[in-house]
């Protein structure tokens, strides 16, 4: 079994992406959870809250997406 650097790099990239997805996962959970709380408290603001929630999710998701790209580059 020769040390196959390519396989090791692929495996490490996978682990790295997994670690990188933790933070955004927690973040998206917080964003969506708070949006639900806000909608329950003020249903008349639903439209605005939903738009803002998608924006928050999109910005939080960016970190996970950078990890996704780095996974392909590695």
């Amino acid at each position: 079994m020769e040390g196959n650097i390519e396989l090791l790099k692929g495996a490490l990239a996978l682990v790295g992406y997994g670690l990188g997805a933790i933070g955004p996962g927690i973040g998206i959970g917080i964003v969506a959870g708070n949006a639900i709380t806000a909608m329950a408290r003020q249903p008349e603001m639903q439209g605005t809250i939903r738009t803002t929630m998608f924006l928050g999710i999109a910005f939080t998701e960016a970190l996970a997406l950078i990890g996704f790209v780095l996974f392909f580059i590695a």
């Binding site: 439209g47 605005t48 738009t51 998608f54 924006l55 999109a58 998701e61 960016a62 997406l65 950078i66 996704f68 790209v69």
Partner: protein
């Protein structure tokens, strides 16, 4: 494609799948001056044609009582006009409405190709298309930013006045990288990654489900493992319709937000 993989399910426990790129890369139909015309190219032109046809036939004549088809198209146009353009950009949103509407419908049709029978390929899962669309958005918001604020746009991004002096180099650097580099990148990759993941999941679940069930003659009762996979695949199928709509909406929404941040630039 995945069905073409030669694998004897009776003898081999794990079938080595074909290269994953086979799902996304097609052979060229013909070549025009070094540019290959592939299935993706054809589907891209088809999507553009569908968008034009939808808008043309939907909004051709204004009836007092719109037909059902007209009402759907008017609903889509009104959604982009009111909920995306006007709510985000504000009064001068009419200038950007044609762009936002066309990318919304193009991405929507392109994404929905994923769940269209006989096509089953989201054109937005090839990086070229999301990247091009996000670069168009990038050029629009950069040009608008420089047009409205002159060089204050660049200077105030790199040296934000609203932040305490000590933090300005750090925040400025982060802002500079995030506005001029990460924005177009994440915009493109978000759409691309979602569509690639969806296409892979659908192919793997539905494909393996069908393969297992089709191999019932060879492997007997073991082919029952294909049933839950097929069921899960069908569940994901419905989920992917939602993802298609959501990703088209988010791409348009973020384009609008980026353009708005260039118009009302305050730092």
């Amino acid at each position: 494609m995945i069905l073409a993989t030669e694998c004897d399910t009776a003898n081999e426990v794990i079938c080595a799948p074909a290269n994953v790129n086979d799902l996304f890369e097609f052979d060229a139909w013909f070549t025009v001056g070094g540019l290959a015309f592939t299935r993706t190219t054809f589907l891209m032109l088809l999507a553009a044609l569908i968008v034009v046809a939808l808008l043309y036939f939907g909004l051709r004549k204004q009836r007092l009582v719109p037909s059902k088809f007209d009402a759907v198209i008017e609903g889509l146009v009104g959604f982009v006009r009111d909920d995306v353009a006007r709510d985000i950009i504000g009064p001068d949103s009419r200038k950007y409405l044609p762009y936002l509407l066309s990318i919304f419908l193009f991405i929507l049709i392109g994404n929905l190709f994923e769940v269209t029978p006989l096509i089953n390929f989201p054109i937005t899962s090839r990086m070229a298309i999301p990247l091009f669309l996000s670069l168009v958005t990038y050029f629009i918001f950069v040009i608008v930013g420089f047009g409205k604020n002159r060089f204050r746009y660049l200077i105030d991004t790199a040296w934000p006045k609203t932040v305490p002096v000590g933090l300005r180099p750090l925040v400025g650097l982060i802002e500079l990288v995030s506005v001029f580099f990460l924005r177009p990148l994440t915009l493109a990759v978000r759409l691309f990654a979602n569509m690639v993941a969806g296409h892979l999941m659908l192919t793997l679940l539905l494909g393996s489900g069908v393969i297992f069930i089709a191999a019932v003659g060879d492997i007997g009762a073991r082919s029952l493992i294909g049933v839950p996979w097929l069921a899960f695949g069908l569940f994901i199928f419905v989920f992917e319709i939602v993802v298609s709509l959501l990703q088209a909406y988010i791409f348009t929404l973020l384009s609008a937000v980026y353009i708005e941040s260039s118009i009302h630039f305050e730092h």
